[in-house]
């Protein structure tokens, strides 16, 4: 029996000690859990397709320097909070001036609030499924606590820019915790970008708590560079009649992994998850989602689309779990994939686990290439073959991109997608 490789102990030592004591204590406790953490292998079910892309060198254990330069100054239409290497940069941020919303850095929290937060950090995630969220818990140097008061409605989207500056090897651990009060409303955009070209690890955790009737839209845009291995987890817990909407747009990298876990704990809660992934070159992207219908009368709807070109690899794993008392649940999951090259690979696993009988659940998954007949139709009308390919591929994902409710994000995504098409479809004569 071969022994599984272990997480190097170099990863267990955080650099900064500026956090309030309760959070430092939490960090120590999480580090304790990670001693002897086996690294995922091909035999680890939830890392089956991705473990070989995970390459953690010891020099990546070093925390990336705090307070570095911001390489990009993003003009965003709305409020923004900028994090560099997992630490907030207030000078670069534009906070909303709005009573209903409190935005604080973990480092600025008074001891009492930090204690309350420490009790809840990680509570939205299934600890068995997300080992790397524990690593984040052991290593985070800062974080963002967003609290929306009951009934508060934020007029514009809040952008949280997570920039990783990798001039030298290292790792960053961005963390966001959102508490949305009853009947509150907001849109949160998380953008992950990077600068530099040394190999780095970005290990993120974002948590959303939706009180009764809260309405939250989350947009996650992953555009980091080829030097970044990104492992992220998002946990969502929804109470009665709350509504959560998620739009994830991801561009590949050496390793991109996102775990999205939603728990519908209150009756009448509703969730909608959309995801778009495109990969090219030798990139890899792995999306794992799970929706737990814990309470009755909840609805969930999930649509993910992947496009894999060149020698890239895209993975989708969607799980719907209907608990025993979740009668009258509706769940619908759909995953469509486009394989553009015979050297690329797509793996998908839409799972259902159902313990209640009065439910309507369906899932569908397809993998294929562009419809030849549709291509022929376009070409026969004088559209170039390349253009026809681009049109059809665009149509395949635009359905989801168009649903993103923030125009600026849509445009950024479109620009990046156009670049992808430029590179993928070469002019044929």
């Amino acid at each position: 029996m071969k022994t599984a490789p272990m997480l190097s102990s170099a990863f267990l030592h955080p650099a900064g000690q500026t956090l309030p004591e309760p959070l430092l204590a939490l960090r120590r406790e999480r580090a304790g859990r990670l001693v002897d953490m086996p690294l995922p292998t091909r035999k680890t079910e939830n890392w089956k397709y991705s473990s070989r892309h995970l390459k953690l060198a010891d020099d990546m254990a070093i925390s990336l320097p705090v307070g570095g330069k911001t390489g990009h100054s993003l003009a965003v239409p709305g409020y923004k909070v900028v994090f560099v290497n997992g630490v907030m940069i207030p000078e670069a941020s534009e906070f909303p001036d709005f009573d209903g919303l409190s935005i604080r850095s973990f480092n600025d929290l008074p001891e009492e609030d930090a204690g309350k937060l420490a009790d809840r950090l990680g509570s939205t995630l299934d600890p068995k499924q997300v080992q790397f969220a524990h690593l984040n818990g052991a290593r985070f140097e800062d974080g963002l606590l967003i609290q929306l008061k009951p009934g508060a409605v934020l007029d514009q989207p809040l952008f949280v820019i997570h920039e990783t500056v990798g001039d030298a090897s290292g790792s960053a651990y961005p963390r966001v915790f959102v508490d949305a009060g009853a009947n509150s409303q907001m849109t949160l955009v998380e953008e992950y970008i990077s600068d530099g070209d040394a190999p780095v690890l970005v290990d993120t955790v974002t948590e959303f708590n939706l009180a009764d009737g809260a309405n939250l839209t989350s947009i996650r845009l992953n555009m980091e560079g080829e030097n970044v291995q990104h492992i992220g987890a998002t946990g969502v817990v929804q109470q009665r009649n709350s509504r959560f909407e998620s739009h994830c747009v991801g561009f590949g990298g050496p390793l991109r992994r996102h775990d999205l876990q939603v728990r519908l704990e209150g009756e009448g809660a509703e969730t909608k998850l959309n995801g778009v992934v495109v990969t090219q070159g030798k990139q890899h992207y792995d999306n794992h989602t799970s929706i737990d219908h814990v309470a009755a009368h909840c609805n969930s709807e999930e649509t993910y689309r992947n496009i894999a070109a060149d020698e890239s690899h895209a993975v989708f794993n969607g799980r719907i779990h209907i608990h025993q008392d979740a009668q009258q649940s509706n769940a619908d999951m759909n995953n469509k994939n486009l394989l553009l090259s015979s050297k690329a690979e797509i793996d998908t696993k839409p799972e259902l686990e159902i313990y209640a009988d009065d439910v309507k659940c369906a899932h569908g998954a397809t993998i294929g290439q562009l419809d030849r007949i549709a291509l022929f139709y376009l070409v026969s009308r004088g559209i170039g073959r390349r253009q026809a390919n681009v049109l059809l591929t665009m149509a395949f994902i635009n359905e989801l991109v168009e649903q993103i409710p923030v125009e600026a994000v849509r445009e950024t995504a479109q620009t990046r997608l156009n670049e992808f098409f430029e590179q993928t479809f070469i002019e044929e004569n």
Binding site: D357, A365, G368
Partner: protein, 482 residues
């Protein structure tokens, strides 16, 4: 001197023969598994050297393996050293002497299934007279097969009579070290069927284990090997709708199918082992590895299964589609009731060009049972133009049961197309209301609805089997409503 020598030799031989015979007739190996047990087993079965080597190799692989834990089933750990790996066929006097000695519950089920009286005796393991109806049936049946050149015999006989065929194909589809239970089976398999259909022959009859006289006691580690040579066709039926009396709790069978160019194999199973009582006590563990290889061009393998029995089922009849244009099919109805657990599905591995596969799986869970579909559809880079369609539907009866779907889909070829659909629903109140309103009682209504749900699979079964399967569902579902 010479005469004395011969006499002495004869004497030695006689004694040896005697000892040997006793070993077969009376011996049941004491529980436990080690290399000596395998050597003894192989010797008792008079197997050629290559078989013993093969068994030992499998055993050594098995020792390095762990019990699989990934399936969605839960059962107490099995002590493999508490099992006896060989028991001689039962003597007449040990069997129940008449139907009066048989569990009345079993008899009631036979009644409901409408099984003819003389068959009931055989199924219940009653010692029956050697002059038995089916013997003559079996004889004519054998003649007909011999005429066509079809080989159909117990695998232990085949090992001796056709060692070259067995050596060539045994383990070629399910290698000895394939998985934990397959390795165990390879090391200790007791008996099973061997079928060889020569080139261009269409097997004149549907082959069924029921007709094979020796099938009565194949033991708990059954091994089946079916080879269909170029251009041949065979339909094979396994199992029986009637519950069989069985004392072994663990069943780890292996079935291997080999289809050469243009050959077709249709393999149908009805499995109705003892599922345990309504409190989940007892019942058979059915851990089966079934796999077919479409090696030649245009070959086809079709699996149809109706699984209603066993306390725990762990079974994935699969197809390796290697030959160009080869076709794999999987039609399954899996019904679980009370505390039964099933984790079943299929694997379709597309290697060749234009290979096609269809998966239709219907899972029905009632009571407190758990029923999972687990499947893999894989397109390798060479699977140009390959196609798969998968549909797995689950039906829930009662609010304490579980229905799960775990489909793995992997594609490495851009021209391959795969579609997967799954739905889960319950027998709706509207459907029930409609039936009740027309004077159909609830139990019958559920049975009608379930039969409709399974129709797509039943139509793939040989005709008389399909009728029985419908009846079987009805009996199995008894007590699930009201």
């Amino acid at each position: 001197m010479a005469t004395t020598d011969t006499e002495v030799k004869e004497l030695i031989k006689r004694e040896y023969e005697h000892g040997f015979v006793t070993e077969i007739e009376a011996d049941t190996f004491e529980p436990g598994l080690n290399e000596d047990v395998i050597r003894r087993l192989s010797k008792v079965k008079q197997e050629p050297e290559f078989m013993l080597e093969w068994r030992l190799k499998a055993y050594r692989r098995w020792l390095e393996m762990d019990d699989p834990t990934w399936a969605h089933v839960d059962y107490p750990e099995i002590d493999y050293n508490a099992i006896s790996y060989y028991s001689a066929p039962k003597k007449q006097e040990d069997m129940p002497q008449s139907l009066d000695e048989v569990d009345p519950e079993l008899l009631r089920t036979y009644e409901k299934l409408g099984i003819p009286l003389h068959e009931r005796e055989k199924l219940a393991g009653v010692a029956v007279d050697a002059v038995f109806d089916s013997v003559s049936v079996a004889t004519t049946f054998k003649e007909q097969l011999a005429e066509a050149g079809v080989i159909f015999c117990p695998i232990s006989e085949a090992v001796q009579k056709y060692p070259e065929l067995v050596e060539k194909y045994l383990g070629s589809v399910v290698p000895a070290g394939d998985n934990f239970f397959a390795a165990l089976n390879s090391a200790v398999f007791s008996d099973g069927s061997f079928v060889y259909i020569p080139k261009g022959v269409r097997c004149p009859l549907e082959l069924s284990t029921y007709f094979r006289i020796n099938a009565a006691n194949t033991g708990q580690f059954e091994r089946t090997l079916i080879v269909a040579d170029e251009g041949s066709y065979v339909s094979y039926l396994e199992g029986c709708t009637a519950p069989m009396r069985d004392e072994n709790q663990l069943h780890a069978a292996v079935v291997e199918l080999v289809a050469l160019g243009d050959a077709q194999i249709k393999y149908s199973t009805v499995q109705n082992w003892y599922p345990g009582d309504e409190h989940g006590k007892g019942g058979i563990y059915n851990f089966v590895t079934k796999r077919g290889a479409c090696l030649g061009k245009n070959s086809k393998i079709s699996w149809t299964q109706v699984e209603t029995g066993s306390a725990v089922t762990w079974k994935y009849p699969s197809c390796i589609l290697k030959g160009e244009n080869s076709v794999g099919e999987f039609y399954s109805v899996a019904l679980t009731h009370n505390y039964q657990q099933a984790d079943t599905g299929t694997k379709m591995i597309h290697l060749g060009k234009n290979t096609r596969s269809t998966i239709i799986s219907k899972g029905i869970s009632a009571g407190r049972s758990s029923n999972a579909y687990r499947g893999l559809v894989k397109f390798q880079p060479g699977a140009e133009g390959a196609r798969n369609y998968t549909q797995c539907d689950s039906l829930l009866i009662g609010d304490r049961c579980g229905a799960h779907t775990f489909p793995y889909i992997e594609s490495k070829n851009k021209s391959a197309i795969v579609e997967h659909e799954a739905t889960t629903s319950k027998v709706s109140d509207e459907q029930m209301f409609l039936c009740r309103q027309r004077g159909i009682d609830p139990e019958q209504a559920v049975s009608m609805i379930v039969n409709g749900f399974c129709k797509e699979v039943f139509k793939e079964l040989p005709m008389e089997f399909a009728v029985e399967a419908g009846k079987l569902l009805e009996v199995s579902l008894e007590g699930s409503v009201g």
